[in-house]
Symmetry: C2
Subunit: 147 residues, 2 copies
Amino acid sequence: MPGKKAATSRPISSAVEDYLERILDLINTKGYARVVDIAQSLEISQASVTNMIQRLDAEGLLKYEKYRGLVLTTAGETLARNITERHQLLTDFLSLLGLDEQVIYHDVEGMEHHISPSTVRALEALTAQLQRQPALLARVRESNHAN
Amino acid sequence: MPGKKAATSRPISSAVEDYLERILDLINTKGYARVVDIAQSLEISQASVTNMIQRLDAEGLLKYEKYRGLVLTTAGETLARNITERHQLLTDFLSLLGLDEQVIYHDVEGMEHHISPSTVRALEALTAQLQRQPALLARVRESNHAN
DNA sequence: CAAAAGAGTTAGCCTCGACTAACATTTGTA
DNA sequence: TACAAATGTTAGTCGAGGCTAACTCTTTTG
């Protein structure tokens, strides 16, 4: 493929994962992801978003045409789905423990970038098992009353 | 207390937590924490360590005398113990799930900075409950064989 | 006890990922 | 259709937290 620049990309950072996650979510819910939407969603400036989007384009994670819009590439969508999966899993797991919604959101937002594939699988299995143990879960939630 | 400068400190970053955690660990195991030891432990340069230590001193988290050595202040030690507790808890929890040691280390190192007090408490309770459920744990570990 | 080795420090630089201000383009509406 | 509003882009800056090179101080050792 002669036209493709390799673009020696840096390792995927937490920031990149955050962008991809929001972009996928916007596309899923609104059908598209504009710079202004991404900026609002991440609570950062539009300029920062433009900047990052150009970088993600250079790294082959999305296709971007100035003033026109963006689409995730296969690589970008795969990453986006992956981080979304981690986010959902952690949210489900912490919810099971009876934690406050705000706390869950905060902690998941931080932790989701640092959880390995095998840990994801283990937590999935644990979550599935715990769902069958209401008595155990009740005891866990009990001990956390003061929240 | 007239001699104390407030030093309008920034919020505690992951980097600061990492430094404090290592410093406390070095003090506990070797009795002291030199610049060179901290640098080796964190795998960063001595210059970076000197720099950060001066900042932690300015922020009142430790007492530092150039060329002489450092001691954690009460505030610094409290933070150090706190992050250490989170580290230990996450390690215990993930160990229970039968994950590989290296994966545990990696994930804990990332996640420990993002876990709220109430999540700590919930995970403590969960860990305690799980220890009484060998059959459940066996099923979780089973599903993760390929690791 | 001098000098080499080791430890610590300073100065200057770099990247990442934010920001604002100013400017460009596109879109919506009178 | 013209122009105002909305959206997008560029240029320049900043702070966090790394780095190396060069220097200083302390400790060890012949």
